[in-house]
């Protein structure tokens, strides 16, 4: 039996949220590349455009399988009640709070930047830059909050395993 078939709905939701976090990180890089496109000379801007296309494909490959599995399970009613209270779901919300603060600060900084330093840059550059900062803040906060591995094997688990082996 495959590992996936044994996975619990709660475990599946955690994995889905992790994939979303990863997808958001890639989208952040996409916006960062978009901002770079506005300031780079023509040839390099073409490379950046190509990179954005590749990153779009990566986001779909990263998130879609997990999303499809989640939606299917939700339709079957398997995930009922398992998604709201988990540690990952709470950290997802906390990361969104961090991202909101970062976005607000970024917008103030961009306003200063436009007036003082770069009045000639296109509006799209500043939009991409702000989205890059916002989404990066989200993904960094999410992975920092969920990175620590607290999972440990207890003595009696090892004893039970040893007893099973004999």
């Amino acid at each position: 039996m495959s590992k996936d078939k044994n996975i619990s709905p709660a475990q599946m939701i955690d994995s889905f949220l992790r994939r979303i976090g990863l997808g958001v990180a890639v989208v952040a890089v996409m916006y960062g590349t978009g901002a770079l496109e506005a300031v780079l000379p023509g040839d390099y801007a073409d490379y950046a455009d190509g990179a954005r296309f590749a990153l779009s494909a990566l986001v779909i490959l990263l998130v879609f399988p997990s999303f499809a599995k989640f939606m299917l399970a939700r339709k079957r009613g398997v995930c009922k009640g398992a998604d709201a209270d988990s540690y990952m779901a709470q950290m997802f919300k906390e990361a969104a709070h961090h991202a909101f603060s970062a976005t607000f600060i970024a917008l103030i900084a961009v306003e200063f930047l436009v007036k003082a330093l770069a009045p000639d840059l296109p509006t799209l550059f500043f939009i991409d830059l702000t989205l890059f900062i916002s989404l990066s803040a989200f993904s960094i906060a999410f992975f920092k909050l969920t990175a620590a591995d607290d999972e440990e094997e207890d003595d009696w688990e090892q004893e039970d395993k040893d007893a099973g082996d004999e």
Partner: protein, 69 residues
């Protein structure tokens, strides 16, 4: 991390010889949720606390208590 909330989940798990994964499956949460509650990094919702109490057949206060300094 919650400084004020203590829990005895590990003790109850040992009594019932349950791994974090077994307990997680039994109450319908992920193993990460159990492990972070156990080490005090995550304060669980009332629903999870009640599910834990039901699983071990004890009142919630026997699992969770406020630290008295």
């Amino acid at each position: 991390m919650s400084e004020a909330l203590e829990n005895r989940i590990r003790v109850f798990r040992a009594e019932h010889r349950m791994s974090q994964g077994d307990l997680a499956d039994a109450i319908g949460v992920s193993r990460k949720t159990i492990s972070t509650i156990e080490v005090g990094r995550f304060v669980p919702s009332t629903v999870i606390a009640l599910k834990l109490a039901k699983q071990f057949a004890v009142p919630v206060e026997e699992i969770f208590s406020l630290r008295e300094d």
